[in-house]
């Protein structure tokens, strides 16, 4: 009986958005009388930080401080249409819609400012701190708040903008199945280290280290939050979580939350990442998506590390202590038959041929949605 260590690697190529009849998102922006800007959306923030990054994109495009942006995602019945926050699409697709709406709003703002300052629109600029300036004449300026107020009470104008983003539905080639479903693709590679206890079957994940290429980061702290939280969730899928432990046999299904097995802070491995920024050509300011992909590559990396550690190949998740022990047992009884055997979770006839593959080879974490 021993504690065996192993290292595994896996990579993911993750699509942003999906081919859902065009997969559109729309946005509306309007100025209030006090010069703040309300961005109205039907896109919900699940905690990934959508409201923050959308506020940043709107502020950057409008040329005002981020404090002046109010994100209203209150009601999907009355807000402009959005397909939703899934498929890591919101920063990219909602962001594109918001950027377009902010550009139109900016134009409307500058038209009113032109009346106020007596200068043509093309000579006006925003300083990012709530002022409209006449280029080259710093003395001639107006506060955005005053322009917004006067638009309503003096000029009878609206300061507002509309934005939409849609990638037309891509037809599927009936011969090859080829299509062009996504908006852009982000990439990551994860290296995991594990320790397998051959007596108890327990797997401890020691570290999960990843490199991510996610386009331009709108908010690096939120990107890191997705990556760290996703790595932990990936570990959870690899080793712990399932609603169907003996599928299709319903035995030992967790009946409620208290019986659902999850790792806790005591199982926290060392998690680290580096992020590379290669701007996309289609996203607002070069963004891609970094959401679901963060739980993808840790899973095959951990399973590959287990193979490296103990020579048993598993293709059925989660890799529980029971599966490890059964896998080690069948490996022992088959000793001499080959370099490795398949874990008990698999009934696949071709599984034996997987067993000899290189433990540290790259496994593709198909981007599950």
């Amino acid at each position: 009986m021993a504690k065996l260590r192993g290292t595994g690697i896996a990579a993911v190529n993750y699509p942003t958005g999906m081919n859902l009849g065009g997969d559109p998102s729309q946005a509306l922006i309007h100025a209030t009388t006090s010069g703040s800007f309300v961005v109205t959306l039907s896109s919900s923030d699940l905690g990934q930080g959508l409201r923050t990054v959308i506020g940043q994109i709107a502020a950057e495009t409008l040329g005002v401080a981020a404090d002046e942006i109010v994100i209203d995602t209150a009601d999907t019945d009355t807000g402009p249409h959005c397909m939703g926050t899934f498929a890591s699409r919101a920063t990219h697709r909602v962001g594109n819609a918001v950027k377009a709406a902010a550009l139109e709003t900016r134009g409307a703002l500058l038209e009113v400012a032109a009346l106020e300052l007596g200068a043509p629109v093309d000579r006006l600029e925003l300083d990012g701190f709530g002022n409209v300036l006449v280029a080259g004449e710093p003395a001639r300026c107006a506060r955005v708040a005053d322009v917004a107020s006067k638009a309503q009470f003096q000029y009878g104008r609206t300061i507002s903008g509309r934005g939409a983003y849609m990638k037309p539905k891509s037809p599927v080639d009936p011969e090859t199945g080829a299509m062009d479903p996504d908006s852009t693709e982000a990439h990551a590679c994860t290296v995991a280290e594990v320790e397998v206890d051959t007596e108890t079957g327990q797997v401890a994940v020691l570290s999960i280290r990843s490199a991510y290429e996610v386009g331009r980061q709108v908010n690096p702290a939120l990107v890191r939050g997705q990556i760290v939280g996703g790595a932990f969730m990936g570990m959870s899928h690899a080793l712990y979580e399932t609603t169907e432990p003996y599928y299709p046999n319903p035995d030992h299904k967790p009946k409620d939350f208290s019986e659902y097995v999850m790792p806790g802070p005591a199982e926290l491995p060392e998690i680290d990442c580096v992020v590379l920024e290669v701007p996309s050509s289609t996203g607002p300011y070069g963004v891609k998506g970094v959401g679901e992909m963060t739980a993808n590559s840790p899973i095959p990396a951990i399973v590959n590390a287990i193979y490296h550690a103990c020579g048993v190949r598993f293709d059925d998740l989660p890799v529980t202590a029971e599966k490890i022990l059964r896998g080690l047992e069948s490996k022992r009884s088959a000793e001499g038959a080959g370099p490795g055997v398949t874990g008990s979770g698999s009934n696949r006839p071709d599984a034996a041929s997987n067993a000899g593959s290189d433990a540290s080879g790259t496994a593709d974490a198909a981007g599950g949605r």
Binding site: G47, G229, M233, F257, S258, I271
Partner: protein, 173 residues
Amino acid sequence: MASRIVSFELCGREVEVLVKPMTTLQFVLRNQLGYTGTKEGCRQGGCGSCTVLVDGEPMMSCLLPVEDVAGRRVTTIEGITPVEGLAPIQQAFVDTNAFQCGYCTPGMVMLTTALLDHNPAPSREEAVEALGGNVCRCTGYAPIIDAIEAASASATGDATRDAGVMPDRSGER
């Protein structure tokens, strides 16, 4: 069985509620008193999102019949939040990005409040131990442990405990 009146101290003031037997403190807080900061993740003791302090000890309010807190001192997230700004522990959670959806956060903050009351400078292991009953599905716990260390450091004035904290991004949005 007949309803009865239960009184206890809630965040510094006396409250009286009329309840049926076995009504939980969580239900009373959220549905009778409007204290919705205390969350309701599972209602069976499995997540800790409903953690409140009873006489300074962290308890899962979903498992606590309100009769059991009669005459006792209950503190919720509302009770530790100043009228202006944030309590230092809350600020530490913000500074370390220790929440995403925020559903676990009130429970985590109350737990941290009790932990630091008893042990102003917990080790990382002690912090992990204290978090054992509280689930976070978003952050992967690492930023929450960082938040506990940062809150401890700010309370004890020990700058060396800041080591695990993310760089200050307060200038960014």
